[in-house]
Structure formats: structure tokens, C-alpha cells
């Protein structure tokens, strides 16, 4: 099992969700996050006052899938979240030791 963490642009969430539903991904965890990478923050000047946006709002999606599906899922996210511009985001893939469904106690792939 692997956990896929994707940081994407906020307005791309619906596209990504739809794309993943299309390939049968049943669930995901979504959070509103802020940060920066190569797309640095910027400042805006309004009536002489400077407003600095140092952390840019992004969406983080977390999905745990069977190892065999990692490439497919990551590719789908890439495709759906792509605008060709800076700040499109990143995808991280992490190993997951175990998954347990709380209600039934099922473990491993059955639980995801």
C-alpha cells in the first residue's frame, strides 16, 4: 500500500476529484494548506500599503491505494491538475505499513 499526497491548486480540486472517481478511487482526504515552493509568495500594493502573500493557499489530497495502482493514480492527478504554469503542485508517494477499517477491523487492502 502507498499513500499518495498531492499538493494542487485550489481551483483544480474538482477536476482532480472527478478524474480519480472516473478510475474508481473511492475516497480521499482533502485539506486546505498553505505553503510555497518554487512559486514564491508575492506582494501586492494597495493604496501604498504592501500586502505580502508569503504562503500561497493550496489543496492537499491524500489517498491510500494498492501499490499496483500508484502510477495510474499519480498520472491521473498530474493530468487533471496540470495548467502548465508554476505552482501546479507536487505529488509524493509514501509507503504505508498498515490500514485498518475502524468499524469492521478489516486490514490491509481490504480496508482501503
Amino acid at each position: 500500500m502507498k499513500k499518495i499526497e498531492a499538493i494542487i491548486k485550489p481551483f483544480k480540486l474538482d477536476d482532480v476529484k472527478e478524474a480519480l472517481t472516473d478510475i474508481g478511487i473511492q475516497g480521499m482526504t482533502v485539506s486546505e494548506v498553505k505553503g510555497y515552493g518554487r512559486q514564491k509568495g508575492h506582494k501586492e500594493i494597495y493604496r501604498g500599503a504592501e500586502y505580502v502573500v508569503d504562503f500561497i493557499p493550496k489543496i492537499k489530497i491524500e489517498i491510500v491505494v494498492d501499490t499496483s495502482r500508484v502510477e495510474e493514480v499519480a498520472a491521473k492527478i498530474c493530468e487533471a491538475a496540470n495548467t502548465g504554469k508554476i505552482g501546479d503542485g507536487k505529488i509524493f508517494v509514501l509507503s504505508v505499513d498498515q490500514a485498518i477499517r475502524v468499524r469492521t477491523g478489516e486490514t490491509g487492502s481490504d480496508a482501503i
Partner: protein, 870 residues
């Protein structure tokens, strides 16, 4: 003892109770509760009559009584509420009382009844209550059930005389404090989406508290006495009772459904309860929405009555003797720290007083007396056209609307008394209207009032936002009145099912404000705000705000800074008043970023002026009309949305058509060009359509210079599909006889340069080195290179003022390329020998060049490529 004995009282109770529970939904809740209580009464009586209890205790030697407490005492026994009883003994609790408990109470536990019991002697009962206030309250509802009636009477007599007589004030104070704490903890159930039927504001406990205060302070015996003793009018009591019966009914059904005691009405239970109560869909509203709206209305009524009662019979009984203030109206007086009508008859003569009392309440910050609220409810119907359009009434209402009211909310009082609905009848449709979605936690009416309130808190010490921008905008806002109207009406469309509540709301807003004879200009503004109140938040969360077009699109719809400011403030107040999920730092950051970008576009207005927008639209139409066939129209139509606003503004319609043709010729190639001859000046215009790549502009400029094509002016545009359209005006090649061949050579050079096969820099150095010095013809100003990072949110703007020399454009653009900058827009012009070049650039990642160090480096790099001035 065995329960299985069908003759045991517990078995009989269980059977009778099951029969009653099977049909409880077919009778009014109060009747069910009475019958339910009676079953328990019967049980306790049977138990006491039974031989085995008699065998345990001799009532003559050990007098005892069973008393019902709490809800059971009031004969309001809900399905799974605790059955509270007191086993009362005369002198001391005999040792054998334990056996009595086993005989009476345990069987109830065995059949799944939650019984709360206390075994106490008369003295114990009173001493304990003397020490602990929370033990006083159950005794208020105590009712004799079985055993020795004289014993029970003695308890009550001493309780009333000693306890209530001597410690009345303390008990009332404790009650008031507990009441306030409970409200704080459980919140207002009259608009919660998952209300607590018992403890929340508007819940059953509010009624209990009224009853207890009534019993302690006014000597009431039962709920009916509220009316008999004149504390509630006949109608009020009727509605009060109706509300209670409904809440009891919901509670019983909830208990039944959960199979246990449960007072919080969670989402998952609501649908079932609504269905079982026969709520049906109506006018686009789901049964569960109608159910909850009705429940809220009932709880709201209880809440109102509760507060009016408390205000009138303040349990602490203190009267603050503040200096009585005068109102502006003879008919409205201040008495006992509340506003009331001097004589109710005056209202018949001057119904406008109904509005003025609210105006005075806002002005003097004095609440309305319950009696005045009662009168407003009863006489509210007098408030109708033309009176509601009376300038004095409208003015008084606006004073209420504008009154800075951090703590004291007159508008809410207007809603509670139904008066706001008289003034704006459309409001009725949103009262108690539930919104079932992940964001809203308040019904529409409460939400819009909160929105108004939130706006008024901005810029004050209790401002809900820390961002100085929003607070400052509100403080400096001149059109507060209009914005507050928009806040009040922004969701009015939700009362009238349609595809877009914002659009419907804008139409209703017009109707409402026209009725008040509002100036057309204000109506337009307010209706605009209502119609577009979701635009910014939707754009911020669903569009790419780092794309200039997004900001331009918003700016064009909003049109001016005042409207943008108001829309931004409305968005913040609306989101803040929706619920915790609709507003957080994250959303705030996105929204503010969008606001600043749109404000910036507006400030440098060439892209958003009314004319620019109109021209652009006309041009698009003309281009579409110029397409001959349907297929052609479709092809053109697909390209139009990709054209950038700057391109559309500065290009004529016929040129757009030819440019689109050129784009279609591009196919999969790297570039195509089209050369036309200007018959008047003899110059050539070269239009190049190319796939954009870093350095494209420099390569074209270099190619022209290499081929002795002198560049007079140039413009470049980047379309949204990453296509660059570059337009150059050049002097034709010196030798016009072989012009066609010359162009062909240039074309090959450009193709090679784009492929990377030709190093233009090297080729140019070999062929025509840049001059070391130039001599300006007229003025002798030094070169000027300016980097402007403020004017655009999306580009750094580089302006170069220099003098013409062969290869000037290639030199500058190469410097930009080497600095890692991509040219998105360029305007190149040459006048005699003076060159003014403007470039809109971003780095290859698409970001502005924000830091001053790289700006200075760029200036130095460009300067190094320019010849010295002689």
C-alpha cells in the same frame, strides 16, 4: 420477585406501556405524556397495595409516601426520559427501606425503565435542599403518587413556608445563573441545524424555568396559570402550548427512534422524524427542511416568551434605577429601563410609532418592554403601503440598519416581533428557512441578520477579522447604507426557489427598494451587489487567480473601485456569518489576493474601461459575422476565447480575422508569417504567428537585423493557447528587386534560429557589430531603463528609453532572455532616432521579478548592451 409473573405490577406496566407506545403517534403529545405518567402512577400504587410491600413495611408504623418529581411530577413523562421518584419517610429512613427499593424500583430497571430515585426522610429532604439549590428545583414539581398523603402534604407545607419563604432570593438567583450558563453551553436551538430539544435556548428547559420562576415568585401551580393569572395572553398561551406539544412530540419520536433518552436532534434522525410526522415536499423544499423550519419556529416562540417572561419577572428582582431618558415621541416612554407605548390607542392613530419605537430603541440603546413587543405583534398589520414607504418610516428603519450595534441588536428584535416581515413582506419567505449543505449553520433569516451585524463590527474593537485591509475599507466606506441594504437582502432570493438565488434576489431587491421610493442609482447599486454577492468567493476558490484574465474578467463585471470594495466587504461578512467552514485564514488569503489583483487592474484601467469592453465585444461579433460558412464560424468561435484582452483591444476586427487565418495556417509548424505592403509609407508589416518559446522575440528581431530589415515598431501578444502573435513594421530590404528572395532568406534564418541551428548573436557580431558610440540627433538624455513591479499584479514592466542603432531591439531582448525573462507583451516604437520600448515580462516559471536585486541586475545588463552616448 419475578418479572415473568404476568400479574406482577411491572409486567402489567410493561404490557400497558407497550400498547401505549404502539399508538402514541396517533395522539397529541401532551395526552400521551399524561397517559404515560398515569401508567407509572398505577404501578406505584399497585406496588404499595401489594402484599409483599406491606409485608416489608408497615405504613402505620413507618409512614412513607412515593412522590413523582421532575417531568413525571408535571405529568410530562416522555418516552425514554428518566422517571424521577422520591421515597419519603417520616422520621428516619428505616433499615428495611432498602428492601422496599428492591421491591419497587428494581423491577422497573428490569423492564428497561431509567428510574432516578431518592430515599429520604422528611428532615433529610429539607436539610439537603437547604444546603443544595439543585435539590430545591425537583421539589417544585413534586406530586403525590401513593402512600401516606398526609406525610407528603407536610413536606410541601414546610418546603413552601420555610425554604421558598426564607431563601427565595437565593433560589431565584441560582436559577437565573444556571439558566444563563445552560444557554451558553447548549446554544440557541431556535436556529441550530442539530438543535437540543431540552437544554438549548428555545428548548423545553426554557419552559421549565418559566414555570419554576412562576411557582416561586408568582405562586403559580401549573402551566395553565400563565394565562389564568394574566402573565400570557390567551393567544400567547395557546401558541405557547402548541409549540410545547410539537417539541414534545418530536422528542418522543426521537426517543422512540433512538430507543433511549436522547435530546439532540442529529441529522440522521431528522429525516425519519420528519417523515413520521407527515411532512411533505412543498415548493421545492424537502420534507426535512420544512420540518426543521417548523421546529425552529416553535422553539423561537418559546425562546421569545422565555425572554419576555424573564425580562418582566427578572428572578433576581432588582430594578436598576437609571436616569429615565426621554424619547423623541410623546407616545413612547422609558419605564423600568425599557421602551413602551404610553397608551396603546395612539398606535391606531399613528401606526408609524410601531417603527419609531425601534428607531428610539436603537438610538437610546434601550430594549423594548415585553408589553410593547406584544403590541407590535398584535398591531403589526397596520404597517402596510403606503405607510411603509413613508419617508419618516424608511428613515427610522435605516437608522436601525446603520446603528453601530455591537451588543444590542434592534434588527433582531424587529425580526422576532414579526415587524421586519411587515416592512419587507418578502422577508417572510426566508424566516426559519433551512439550508441543508455543508456550510450553512443558520437559517437564512438569522444568517442575513448576522451578515449585517458582522459588517457593522468591522473596524471596531470587536471586529471579527484582523486584516487591516477589510477594516479600513469599511471605515472609509461612504456608501455604508447601500451596503447594509445589500447585506440584509443578499439572500432574499432563497425564499423563492429558482436556478440562481442571487439573480432572483436582485429582482426582489428592486421591487422592495422601489416600494420605498429609493433613487434609481441606489437601487442599481444594491441590486448589483445582491446579484453578484458570490462572484468574488466563487472566483477566488474556483478560478486561477494567478491568471491575469481572471482579474480582468472580475474587474470588467464590477466596473469600479467602490463596487469592488463593497463586494469584497459583503463577501467577507457573508462568509463569516455562514459558519466556520465557509471562512478561515485559507479562504481569506485567496479572497484578499483576488481583491488586490482586481483592484490593481482597475487602477490601471485601460483594460476595463467601459469603452474597452464594448469595443471588444463588438469586435468579437464582427469577426464571427465575417466568417463565411458555418464550419468557419465554428473554427473562429473556438479561437475567440483564447485571444488575450490586450490583443482584442488593440487589434481591428478585420485584422483579427486575418490573424486567426494565419493561426490556422500554422498547423504543426513552429511559425508562419504574412507580409503586407503599406502603400502609403512603403513599409512592410510582418505578422508572425508562432509557438511561444523563451527568446522568440529576440530571435525574430535578430533575424530582421541580420537581413538588414530595419524595425520601426513592433507589438507582441501572447494568446492563451501559448501562441505568440508578433507584428513588426519594417523598412523593406534595400534591394527591392529581389525582395521575395530576401524574405525567403530571412524566413530560413528564423527557422534555423528557432531550431537552434543558427547562433544569431555570433552571426550578428560577425556581420555588423553594434556601434560603440552613438550620437543622438536632438536631445542628449542618458539611456533610461525602468523596472516597474507595482503597476501589474502579473507582470514586471520593463521600459527602455534609448536611441536607435542597428540591432537595438535584438540587444535589449537578448538581455531580457539571458536574464531568464519571457516577454508576454511588447510595444516598440521609434521616433526619428528615439526608441521607447515597453516589455511585460515574467520569468520562465511565470512569476514576476519581485526582488530589487534582480531588477537592478537587469538594468545593468541592458545598459551594458547599449552604446555610449556621444
Amino acid at each position: 420477585m419475578t418479572n415473568h409473573d404476568i400479574h406482577h405490577p411491572a409486567a402489567r406496566l410493561e404490557a400497558a406501556r407497550n400498547t401505549l407506545l404502539a399508538e402514541f403517534t396517533h395522539m397529541p403529545a401532551d395526552e400521551f405524556m399524561r397517559r404515560h405518567s398515569r401508567l407509572f402512577d398505577a404501578y406505584f400504587r399497585q406496588c404499595c397495595d401489594e402484599d409483599r410491600v406491606r409485608a416489608v413495611l408497615d405504613i402505620h408504623r413507618n409512614p412513607y409516601a412515593v412522590a413523582a418529581l421532575g417531568g413525571y411530577g408535571r405529568r410530562e413523562q416522555n418516552v425514554h426520559s428518566d422517571v424521577d421518584v422520591l421515597l419519603l419517610f417520616d422520621a428516619a429512613v428505616p433499615r428495611r427501606a432498602e428492601t422496599l427499593v428492591q421491591e419497587i424500583i428494581y423491577p422497573l430497571w428490569d423492564i428497561g425503565i431509567d428510574v432516578g430515585h431518592a430515599t429520604r426522610s422528611l428532615t433529610q429532604c429539607l436539610t439537603m435542599a437547604w444546603q443544595r439549590m439543585d435539590l430545591v428545583i425537583p421539589l417544585l414539581d413534586a406530586r403525590f403518587v401513593s402512600g401516606d398523603p398526609a406525610l407528603f402534604s407536610r413536606l410541601m407545607e414546610i418546603f413552601h413556608k420555610r425554604l421558598l419563604g426564607e431563601r427565595r432570593r437565593e433560589i431565584l438567583a441560582w436559577l437565573a445563573e444556571t439558566n444563563a450558563r445552560r444557554h451558553l453551553r447548549f446554544g440557541d436551538s431556535s436556529y441550530r441545524l442539530e438543535p437540543n430539544l431540552k437544554e438549548g435556548l428555545g428548548g423545553l428547559r426554557d419552559y421549565h424555568t418559566m414555570l419554576w420562576i412562576g411557582k416561586i415568585k408568582l405562586g403559580l401551580q401549573q402551566a395553565r396559570d400563565f394565562e389564568y393569572a394574566g402573565h400570557l395572553s390567551h393567544d400567547e398561551y395557546r401558541l405557547f402550548r402548541r409549540a410545547l406539544v410539537f417539541i414534545w412530540d418530536v422528542r418522543n419520536r426521537l426517543h422512540r427512534r433512538c430507543g433511549r433518552k436522547c435530546d439532540q436532534l442529529y441529522f440522521q434522525s431528522q429525516i425519519n422524524v420528519a417523515r413520521s410526522m407527515d411532512f411533505r415536499p412543498l415548493g421545492g423544499r424537502k420534507p426535512v427542511e420544512r420540518f426543521l423550519a417548523h421546529l425552529h419556529a416553535q422553539m423561537d416562540f418559546i425562546k421569545q416568551q422565555h425572554f419576555m417572561f424573564l425580562q418582566q419577572y427578572d428572578p433576581r428582582g432588582k430594578k436598576t434605577a437609571r436616569r429615565a431618558r426621554r424619547t423623541r415621541f410623546d407616545e413612547i416612554v422609558v419605564a423600568a429601563d425599557a421602551l413602551r407605548f404610553d397608551v396603546a390607542e395612539s398606535i391606531m392613530k399613528h401606526p408609524a410609532l410601531l417603527m419609531h419605537i425601534f428607531g428610539e430603541s436603537a438610538r437610546l440603546k434601550i430594549p423594548l418592554h415585553p408589553e410593547a413587543k406584544r403590541i407590535i405583534r398584535e398591531f403589526g398589520h397596520l404597517m402596510k403601503t403606503p405607510l411603509i414607504a413613508d419617508p419618516a418610516v424608511v428613515k427610522a428603519f435605516e437608522a436601525v440598519l446603520k446603528e453601530p450595534a455591537p451588543t444590542f441588536n434592534v434588527l433582531r428584535e424587529m425580526l422576532n416581533t414579526g415587524f421586519l416581515q411587515r416592512l419587507v413582506p418578502e422577508f417572510r419567505e426566508i424566516v426559519h428557512r433551512i439550508q441543508y449543505n455543508a456550510y450553512h449553520i443558520y437559517p437564512v433569516d438569522k444568517h442575513v441578520l448576522r451578515t449585517v451585524q458582522t459588517l457593522k463590527k468591522l473596524g471596531t474593537a470587536i471586529s471579527p477579522v484582523s486584516c487591516p485591509l477589510a477594516n479600513g475599507l469599511w471605515k472609509n466606506l461612504k456608501q455604508r447604507r447601500q451596503l447594509l441594504w445589500a447585506a440584509l437582502l443578499h439572500d432574499i432570493g432563497k425564499g423563492f426557489p429558482s436556478a440562481s438565488h442571487a439573480a432572483t434576489g436582485a429582482d426582489i431587491t428592486r421591487t422592495v427598494l422601489k416600494r420605498f421610493h429609493y433613487p434609481e442609482k441606489d437601487i442599481d447599486l444594491i441590486a448589483f451587489l445582491v446579484r453578484n454577492h458570490l462572484m468574488l468567493i466563487k472566483t477566488a476558490t474556483r478560478r486561477d487567480i494567478h491568471e491575469e484574465e481572471t482579474a480582468i474578467h472580475c474587474a470588467r463585471r464590477i466596473k469600479n473601485r467602490q463596487r469592488l470594495n463593497m463586494l469584497y466587504l459583503l463577501t467577507i461578512a457573508d462568509s463569516l456569518s455562514t459558519g466556520p467552514k465557509a471562512w478561515n485564514e485559507w479562504t481569506a488569503a485567496l479572497l484578499r489576493d483576488l481583491f488586490l489583483k482586481v483592484a490593481n487592474i482597475m487602477q490601471h484601467g485601460e483594460l476595463v474601461s467601459h469603452r474597452a469592453v464594448r469595443h471588444t465585444e463588438n469586435k468579437k461579433k464582427a469577426v464571427l459575422n465575417a466568417a463565411a460558412t458555418a464550419a468557419e464560424k465554428k473554427r473562429v468561435g473556438a479561437i475567440l476565447p483564447l485571444l488575450s484582452p490586450r490583443y482584442l483591444i488593440s487589434t481591428d476586427a478585420p485584422d483579427i480575422t486575418t490573424d486567426i487565418d494565419l493561426y490556422h495556417q500554422l498547423g504543426t509548424g513552429s511559425f508562419v508569417w504574412k507580409i503586407t505592403r503599406d502603400t502609403a509609407t512603403g513599409t512592410r508589416t510582418v505578422k508572425i504567428c508562432a509557438r511561444d518559446q523563451p527568446g522568440l522575440f529576440a530571435k525574430i528581431a535578430g533575424t530582421f537585423t541580420l537581413n538588414h530589415l530595419n524595425i520601426l515598431s513592433a507589438q507582441i501578444f501572447t494568446w492563451r493557447n501559448n501562441i505568440a502573435l508578433d507584428i513588426f513594421d519594417v523598412h523593406p530590404p534595400p534591394d527591392v528587386i529581389f525582395e521575395k528572395e530576401k524574405w525567403e532568406t530571412a524566413r530560413r534564418h528564423l527557422a534555423a534560429a528557432l531550431d537552434g541551428a543558427l547562433d544569431l548573436g555570433a552571426a550578428l557580431r560577425n556581420k555588423m557589430p553594434s556601434p560603440a558610440r552613438i550620437k543622438p540627433i536632438a536631445s542628449k538624455n542618458p539611456h533610461r531603463i525602468m523596472v516597474d513591479n507595482h503597476s501589474s499584479s502579473f507582470f514586471s514592466i520593463v521600459e527602455v528609453f534609448t536611441y536607435d542603432f542597428p540591432g537595438v531591439l535584438f540587444s535589449i531582448t537578448s538581455a531580457l532572455f539571458e536574464a531568464g525573462l519571457d516577454i508576454w507583451v511588447a510595444k516598440i516604437s521609434t521616433r526619428i532616432d528615439q526608441v521607447v520600448d515597453v516589455f511585460y515580462v515574467r520569468d520562465f516559471d511565470g512569476q514576476k521579478m519581485d526582488d530589487e536585486k534582480s531588477a537592478a541586475a537587469l538594468q545593468a545588463a541592458i545598459l551594458a548592451r547599449l552604446p555610449d552616448i556621444e
